[in-house]
């Protein structure tokens, strides 16, 4: 037995030495204060091609501009939100950013425990278990007027239907939401409102998958809408919504991406409604670095270039482009205001 143990020790030592040989040393810091920024993603993870990804883009840009120390933790399931936020807070980071509405209660809990640490949360606030905003002075909410972005792609969808330029124009379009929560419904509200503005006779089908991660669930909802004659499908369901884009491609109809530019997700994607989470994340970090952190809501919209749209796999007719520019300018100037609630 002793012999066996010795052998085992030898193997272990060899492995350890190998590991150490691969190790390097970390460089030292400078003299000026280096700000430490921690980012916690929700369960979508960094490769969600959506807002977790965009938050990371904003973080990287801030790193390049301000020389911050940036660290990221991806949450693999919801029970990790509190420990992951606590990790950065307990290490006295200068700003802890939570990505997404799903982390509201966790941000509320942790910001209560660490009143001297600054928090920012995309799409939400720090709340208690009942969903009430705790209005902590150390929490900044980064909100978006998703209806602005939704309206831009709604204009596109409505115009294509009215002028018979969609794949199977029958004045029917669809939207697939993840869960019926405010940020999702804002998008759909702007989309439906603008589509009706362009094509008053249009029918807008709205469905929910009750999921943000599983593409198969969204595919089913999209399939049902396409079977009901929808030929432009707007996905508002994060990672789940990639299924909407795929289904549209398989059924030979158009689709519209959400949050980030989803041009590459499927050839059927003609445009994406953009929520510029990168701009919001960058702005929040910039405020902290400049000593200008403020609690409460910071809203990003077309007016401050925090929302918009991207043109993807479709060459637009000049008339439609002119119409989009006109509407965007009107929203920017405040002469048109897309609604936050889904119109009847």
């Amino acid at each position: 037995m002793a012999h066996k143990r010795l052998k085992f020790l030898g193997v272990a030592a060899a492995v350890l030495m190998l590991a150490m040989a691969c190790g390097g040393s970390n460089g030292g810091g400078g003299n000026t204060k280096q700000y430490k920024i921690g980012l916690v993603t929700d369960i979508g993870g960094l490769n969600d091609k959506s807002f977790n990804h965009l938050a990371f883009v904003g973080l990287e840009k801030a790193k390049a501009d301000f020389g911050i120390k940036d660290d990221v933790i991806e949450s693999h399931n919801g029970s990790e939100y509190v420990p992951n936020l606590t990790n950065f807070a307990s290490k006295s980071y200068d700003l802890v950013i939570g990505v997404g509405f799903l982390m509201q209660e966790a941000v509320g809990t942790v910001s209560t425990q660490f009143p001297n640490i600054h928090f920012a949360i995309i799409d939400g606030a720090g709340t208690d278990a009942k969903g009430n905003d705790l209005k902590h002075t150390n929490v900044q909410s980064l909100y978006f007027k998703e209806q602005d972005a939704g309206a831009m792609v709604g204009v596109m969808a409505g115009w294509l239907e009215k002028n018979g330029k969609s794949k199977k124009p029958q004045h029917v379009i669809g939207a697939v939401g993840g869960v019926s929560i405010p940020p999702v419904n804002h998008y759909i509200a702007g989309y439906k409102w603008a589509a009706k503005m362009e094509d008053p006779g249009i029918q807008v089908q709205v469905g929910y998958s009750n999921d943000f991660t599983d593409p198969a669930k969204c595919k089913t909802v999209a399939k049902a809408q396409i079977d009901q004659k929808s030929d432009i499908e707007f996905q508002v369901a994060g990672g789940c919504g990639l299924g909407v884009l795929q289904q549209a491609g398989q059924s030979g109809v158009y689709s519209i991406g959400v949050d980030a530019d989803q041009k590459d997700a499927d050839p059927s994607v003609i445009a994406s409604a953009l929520k510029k989470v990168d701009v919001a994340t960058y702005t929040a970090i910039q405020n902290v670095v400049k000593g200008q952190f403020s609690s409460g809501a910071l809203t990003f919209s077309i007016a401050n270039d925090g929302a918009g749209y991207a043109l993807d796999n479709l060459t637009l007719p000049a008339e439609l482009k002119a119409e989009l520019d006109k509407v965007q300018k009107q929203i920017h100037d405040g002469t048109l205001t897309p609604p936050a609630d889904i119109p009847a």
């Binding site: 693999h76 420990p83 990790n87 307990s90 278990a129 929560i181 419904n185 009750n210």
Partner: protein, 395 residues
Amino acid sequence: MPPIARRLAGGLAMPLGSVVLAFVIGAVIVAVTGGNPLDAYSGLLCGGLGIACSQGENPALQVSTTIVYVIPLITTGVAVALPFRAGLFNIGAEGQLLAGMMACTAIGVKFSDLPSPILLPMVLLGGMAAGAVWAGVPGILKATVGAHEVVTTIMLNYVAQWLLRYLIIGGPLQLAPGTSKSLTIGPGAWLARVLPNDNSLVIFGLPAGVFRVHTGLLLALVAAAAFAFLLWRTSLGYEIRAVGQSQRAARYAGVSVARTIIVTMLIAGAFAGLAGAIQIAGVDHNLTDIYFSDTTGFDAIAVALLGLGSAVGIVLAAILFGALHAGGSVMQADAGISGSLVFVLQALILFSIAANFIGQIRRLIPGLGRPAALPPEMPPAAPMMTEAAVPPVEP
């Protein structure tokens, strides 16, 4: 060396070897993909066990976080290991856990005004009952019409997952329209924390509220002890093991196989349901969308396998998996290596156990010890669960 120690060493070789093998392969993967294995593993060690923290982590906080993850793994691990002993694959621990959560929340919300001595046992027993029902159905189906428990328990996982969604999104437990969470259970149903949940109190340099470790730990350990007692010190435990070894022999010996299968599944489900109830009563106090993506019941399968189906083994394996879970986050924060490496490690551990690499290595290299003798009559479900897989004691 005394026979007991030799037997222990032989029994530990397979799981320990699997873990070491997984970590070695994991280190290679990290190195090949441009990371530093030493940084990765020191991050894991710090995050999981609070040892060797280099970047300002609070060791006590890390230990507390790990224990919070360990608690449900122990209890669901038992829920998988018990049916293994009877030759049954309980892949439904996740569904049974969710059933326990739903029952606990429903009772805790409905009777939120009751005092703790009444309400706490109610929610825990309610959770156990719900879990027992969730596992009892596959048990009855297996015993009566022969429906395979793997299929039925997996299907009931989906039923539980979708029922959870329904209950808190548009269903009767939903807090308010537009939310995906339930009301909070009454304070009487809360399991006490080990440290007071008081943020004005500073313990280990942090507000006490951050230490979420709760007294459910005791319940989990009691569950593991109860499992061992049931299995080795009761006639039911003997029957369970007899059925697991050979149904035909058990039947010949006068054991009712059908009854044993049903009772085993009921008890297993009660353990998993208890895990769910403890989680709600000890950690969350409400049912939320965070459990849409829960995998505890599936991790429990790995815990039961790695723990060789013994109570002590399950507790140790649960600590390892809980530490890996908590450590993954710290590893990503400190070393910049994706926490997904943890899933690779878990999969490698499981894979190496399933493939019995260590047994093969021992067979190939005689100096490393004798190969495990395979018993002649082995239930297909649990080849490495039986005591026979441990090298026989020297006469």
